[in-house]
Symmetry: C2
Subunit: 402 residues, 2 copies
């Protein structure tokens, strides 16, 4: 076989299971053909030719990281509210003065798809510098048909220009916009469901999400959305049980959802349903940290139920101003007691599964995309141990150094 690229002298954490932690293997070389992993073997094996040979000098290689839950496309900023909250003003008072998500919606509606893409592109730098190869981005700050489409077009365009794989999610049911206040059912009928059909037809989204919460949409409303999504052929996921247990995890599991996200308040009922459906638990410690939540997600029960746990940033300008996937993983360990290996799997293998991309990315296995992160560390735990360090040597995406 002739490789497009051969990587030699690597320590490979495949994250694909096996006897050793982090799926470490004896093999220390990878052969790439057509942007995919074609061979995993020994640096000493010279049976194969390669156009390029990269000696990574004993560095660790993991799958490129995957952030499976972000709100990275938005206009405006909310630094003033951050300041006011810390000076003692209440959320309610800030919301009353036009703050909160409505402020972001107001700014986002005024922005074009090109402006939104440019703003988000600059935000991707921090993710690239930490080894991220795939990132999910949600709509949900437009809340009109036109503006939600602009967000999704911006997300698709980022996939073309950033070199990263972008998974786009329609989250029209993020909040009830001011013009529909008190009329959430009408918002769902007139905006959310038509959008589902439109984006499914245009191929603008890979999944449909909703914010099911006392301050968001009811389980009954969420169910109507999910029925429409399923009819349109789009998989679903859910902001579930973040602030209270409305049965969100069970609801999304009943629709064979990709993931239930947040789930601080999910009970055993929801966990049982997730175990049955194979939905991934997406752990979002950034929001827990930033809003001062004290109820932790049920890590131990999820672990015991054998549910895959992904970890993501939830990057957004309000409740999780976090653009560091490594800090998210550190928080999942430090705040929630996930093991280091679980956290690293949470930002690779399990995050890929949460995006429905488990066949393509998330582990180093034959046939998967040649998407890698190469690290200046002596062992994988170091990747997550330090906050702010960015120990990345470089990324290889689709077989090329990015």
């Amino acid at each position: 076989m002739r490789f497009d690229r051969k990587i030699i002298n690597a320590r490979i954490a495949t994250m694909a299971g096996g006897e050793k932690p982090y799926g470490e293997v004896e093999a220390d070389a990878i052969g790439i053909v057509d942007e995919k992993i074609a061979w995993i073997g020994s640096s000493d094996d010279t049976a194969h030719e390669a156009i390029s040979i990269d000696d990574v000098e004993g560095r660790w290689i993991t799958p490129a990281l995957v952030d499976c839950h972000t709100h990275l496309i938005f206009a405006g900023d909310r630094a003033d509210e951050y300041e006011r909250r810390l000076a003692g003003e209440s959320y309610a008072s800030i919301a009353k003065s036009g703050g909160g998500i409505r402020k972001t919606v107001e700014a986002t509606r005024k922005a074009s798809a090109a402006e939104l893409a440019a703003l988000a592109l600059s935000r991707l730098d921090a993710f690239a510098a930490e080894g991220v190869g795939t990132i999910e981005i949600k709509s949900g700050y437009g809340l009109t048909i036109e503006s939600e489409l602009a967000m999704l077009k911006a997300a698709r365009s980022l996939g073309l220009v950033s070199g990263m794989r972008i998974s786009a999610t329609l989250l029209a049911a993020h909040a009830v916009p001011v013009e529909y206040e008190g009329r959430s059912a009408a918002y769902i009928d007139e905006v959310c469901i038509p959008l589902i059909n439109q984006v499914a037809e245009a191929g603008l989204a890979d999944a449909v999400d909703a914010y099911c919460e006392n301050i968001g949409f009811t389980p009954a409303e969420t169910r109507r959305l999910f029925i429409a999504a399923k009819a349109a052929g789009l998989p679903v996921k859910l902001h579930a049980d973040q602030l209270s247990d409305l049965g969100g995890a069970k609801l999304v599991a009943d629709f064979d959802g990709l993931s239930a996200d947040h789930i601080e308040y999910t009970g055993q009922n929801g966990i049982d349903a997730m175990a049955k459906s194979g939905s991934v638990a997406v752990i979002l410690p950034g929001a827990y940290y930033a809003i001062g939540e004290t109820q932790q997600p049920p890590i131990k029960a999820l672990r015991e139920a054998g549910i895959a746990m992904a970890v993501a940033t939830d990057a957004n300008p309000g409740s999780s101003p976090l653009v560091s996937i490594l800090t998210a993983a550190n928080m999942a360990c430090t705040l929630f007691g996930m093991t280091v290996e679980e956290a690293l799997a949470g930002i690779t293998r399990e995050a890929a599964q949460a995006l429905g991309l488990a066949d393509e990315i998330g582990t180093i296995e034959l046939g998967k995309a040649a998407d890698f992160a190469v690290w200046d560390v002596t062992r994988p735990a170091e990747i997550i141990q330090w906050i702010g360090r960015r120990p990345l040597h470089g990324r290889i995406l689709a077989g090329e150094w990015a």
Copy 2:
């Protein structure tokens, strides 16, 4: 006046008090002569010539950031312990197997001053990327006369090669080394006090620190060290009341100490003494976060007593693996309820005071060093609001772009 450099079209957060938040001033230009701030005025004022003129295009300028408490010089890593702790192993069991600080001491003793400097230099990158211009670095992983001196020489050499101002602190009384186990008084007599005299004479340290704790040195031992430091002409500071109230804050205040650091358990007695002495409270949320502490430092009481509060990373491979001063500031707000302005003052003005450098750095005022951080933000709160973002445009240190 002829300036070496003139910075125009800036929004200046002087951090020097005044009517507006962040010490913002009307002036939008700074003139630099001989590495110092010689003039603060209007971009339209053309009365002064300048060799270089830098248009920062409306960006915010703050004093270069100051990290006043780090343990950045060490050899080896402790990622394995991090992994084991999160997998459920106890601190005690890890310490028993040769882990903890002793592992770092073992590796550090084997390293030369040059090797220690090279290791620390690579760690400084993360601080530089967030706008830090001055950083304090402690010894305390050598615990022999020779190895402590090697650490301090490494710190001094970093000041020569990194372009950053380094404040070096002798912390021989960090832990009792294995060869003095059960004989801490002898360790103080035979190692710590001789070191104080030696580094004072050689000019290798700017201050003396100790770890006063049930698992460290007693207040009586600390007092003996402080007497020796004072006699040698070195100011003191203290790791005080981190895990229990041993009266550490009062002790260091009684010696007119520069700062009392950690102080989670400091009571009113200590606060009163600090208010009297003018010692700075150094808030270290990274350690609080990483070790899962639940007792918060008494921010409200410190504020009411008018005590200056600095914020620092406490960067170290065990209890605070944090090399992000901006995350430290974010944690001080999010976890401890400091205001954004207090936190930004904590990593500029108050940190400078904690290092005894208030006359030279920490604010943008006439006569102070021309050490600035230039930011890509719309308001100062944004600098601290996002974790992982590094919104730095560039640093000017001693009047030059760094």
